[in-house]
């Protein structure tokens, strides 16, 4: 497999702080790669280094095997879809999309045929002469993507382009973007703080924290097997516990809840359990499942995301548990006792 982008020990230092700390990763050609992290984690700086708007302080950045040192943004085979989209307000849709092609001294008829083809791809036929200010949020999005893709870049960089859209449209655009990427086959590098965007669309996700990558993995592995406590806490929801002691395969939380987790070769101090990992009304007979008696304190109704907040009886630990919205659990009420089970593989332990 050839790599379209290779990042080797890249560091970015600004006057008073280091935004990116010796990051290394490779992106496979034709993949959908996301960089997920909170604000200020350095993901935008990383993106700006790939696009050429920021210089690399240390390390190497190669696109299709070629070093990008000293190559200005306008000469890199990389295009960006900006967070604000940055559509040119004084031009119509057609002129926005043709802008990049016209800079390359491509013959006029080829420019117009490529623009038409691109607008067909993103479903904007008939909007050629419209002013970009008269389009809806989703249409503007597609113009911005078309404007970049028409140049056939090696990599398309997307800087949280869905951030400004409302929720419904965002859900829709997520799927649309993924389908578009599959169809066109261009490598997408997608920057976001929204884990759902990263998980739904990507082939690989890198979780970034304080200028470093915590984990690069498939969305499923990232969720199932977080490599660090940061990833466990950041990706998806989790109940977090402080571990007081670990001996003989038994964990004891700070509040005194005992759970069996054999085979750890380190002394853990953090424990994470997903809300959906709890087995409600667990039968006693399941293997490797620890049973815990709890009392329901609150039912937090949120449609398919409904959770119950329970207190573990022996330890007073508070836990959030997913509550499926089906007939079986409709009769649960606040104050009820509930026995839940946890499989030992769902106990994620870390040492910070």
């Amino acid at each position: 497999m050839s790599y379209v982008l290779e990042i080797k020990n890249v560091t970015k230092k600004f006057a008073d702080f280091t935004a990116v700390k010796s990051v290394s990763f490779n992106v496979e050609d034709g993949g959908f790669f996301s960089i997920l992290g909170g604000s200020g984690c350095g993901k935008t700086t990383l993106l700006r280094m790939i696009s050429g708007f920021e210089e690399v302080t240390e390390g190497e950045l190669l696109i299709r095997g070629e070093s990008m040192e000293g190559v200005p943004p306008e000469r890199r085979p990389v295009n960006i879809v900006f967070q604000s989209l940055a559509l040119f307000p004084m031009m119509n849709v057609e002129k926005n999309v043709a802008f990049g092609l016209q800079r390359q001294k491509i013959p006029k008829n080829e420019v117009s045929s490529r623009v038409t083809e691109m607008l067909e791809r993103v479903g904007l036929v008939g909007f050629e002469k419209k002013n970009v200010n008269d389009l809806s949020g989703g249409q503007r999005q597609r113009v911005a993507i078309a404007r970049s893709l028409v140049l056939r870049p090696s990599i398309l960089l997307l800087d949280e382009p869905l951030g400004a859209l409302d929720r419904k449209l965002r859900e829709h655009m997520k799927i649309e973007l993924k389908v578009l990427q599959r169809e066109i086959g261009t490598t997408f590098i997608y920057i976001t703080h929204d884990q759902s965007e990263a998980l739904v669309m990507s082939d690989h996700v890198a979780v970034m924290n304080e200028g470093k990558f915590e984990q690069i993995d498939t969305p499923k592995n990232l969720y199932k097997n977080p490599a660090t406590s940061f990833v466990a806490g950041f990706v998806g929801e989790s109940n977090e516990f402080d571990i007081a002691s670990y001996a003989g395969g038994e964990l004891i939380t700070n509040n005194g809840c005992k759970l069996v987790k054999p085979g750890l070769d380190f002394q853990p101090n953090k424990l994470f359990i997903r809300p959906e990992a709890f087995i409600l009304d667990s039968p006693e007979t399941l293997p490797d499942v620890a049973l815990v008696k709890t009392e329901i304190k609150n039912i937090l109704f949120d449609g398919a995301n409904t959770k119950i907040s329970v207190v573990i009886k022996e330890s007073a630990d508070k836990v959030l548990i997913s509550l499926p919205q089906n007939a079986k659990y409709d009769n649960l009420h606040e104050g009820d006792d509930l026995q839940v089970g946890i499989h030992r593989d769902d106990l994620k332990c870390y040492r910070d």
């Binding site: 943004p73 306008e74 900006f82 940055a86 040119f88 800079r103 390359q104 140049l151």
Partner: protein
């Protein structure tokens, strides 16, 4: 139709007073006077003679054309000189410094036109600052005559009007999202192309509105051409002044005033057409 309350009519009074008493009535009066002519028998009649004077005497319409061309030139110069400053203050340095620097730019306005004009006289005259300096460093042997020429007049007009160009341009540049420039660069545009295709079209409303203000100020200015231009630089406002206050021919003065109004309005109209701007958009 919604019924208007008394507040609506009350608020209309200052508007009507301003427009009517200060603008419409004086102009109508001027228009009326410009068509009045005193015959040899001291009789006032309606006539086109006042306007014919303008066309019959070469000095008048030559001054007229010169005033128009110089005003256009100063407007263009004002744009060329202030654009880099506006760009630097809005896009290159941070907000923290640009506010203070913009305030510094405005200081000459507080001092007043006449004082700044005298300041330029100190700089430009034969034994002034610039000539003394050039003589001292041995670049010239005798003083260059700068004061009371078209050069000194242009400098003065430019200095007086630059600020009115830079303010609307800065506000246009300020409202421009920086990522537009980055996007253009990302799509392969050179610096020159970004300037021509993105920055200029985006800031055109600001440039045109600044341009109109500068042009109007310059074409109607009296102080700078009279003091810095001296005898060698005739300005059309001086002709009007002379008509009113030297030869006491108010009727001809009124006619000349109207010609200036028509001239400047026509040039502004052409400029709006050429730049594809609408007056209401530029005005806001």
């Amino acid at each position: 139709m919604k019924k208007r309350g008394s507040t609506f009519y009350l608020l209309m009074i200052p508007v009507l007073l301003w427009l009517g008493v200060l603008i419409v009535i004086p102009h109508l009066d001027m228009l009326y006077r410009s068509f009045r002519f005193e015959t040899d028998d001291w009789e006032m009649v309606f006539s086109l003679n006042n306007y014919l004077t303008f066309f019959s005497d070469q000095i008048y319409w030559l001054t007229f054309v010169k005033t128009a061309l110089y005003s256009i030139g100063v407007t263009i110069l004002a744009f060329v000189v202030t654009f880099p400053v506006a760009f630097y203050l809005t896009k290159v340095i941070g907000k923290k410094y640009s506010g203070f620097m913009t305030l510094l730019l405005l200081i000459p306005i507080w001092i007043g036109e006449l004082v700044t004009v005298y300041g330029w006289m100190i700089l430009l005259r034969d034994n002034g600052v610039i000539n003394t300096f050039l003589l001292k460093i041995g670049l010239i042997d005798s003083p260059i005559e700068m004061l009371f020429t078209n050069f000194s007049m242009t400098i003065g007009l430019l200095y007086m009007s630059m600020l009115f160009m830079i303010v609307p341009m800065m506000s246009a540049l300020d409202s421009m999202d920086d990522s537009l420039i980055e996007a253009a660069s990302d799509l392969g545009a050179s610096k020159w192309m970004i300037f021509r295709q993105i920055i200029i079209p985006y800031t055109t409303p600001g440039i045109v509105s600044g341009g109109i203000i500068v042009f109007m100020l310059v074409i109607g200015d009296y102080v700078v051409p009279t003091i810095l231009g001296g005898k060698s630089s005739l300005w059309f406002t001086e002709q009007i002044y002379n008509k009113f206050l030297m030869s006491f021919n108010w009727n001809e003065g009124a006619a000349f005033g109207f010609l200036l109004l028509v001239l400047s309005s026509t040039i502004v109209w052409i400029a709006l057409k050429l730049s594809g701007q609408k007056l209401d958009k530029v005005g806001s």
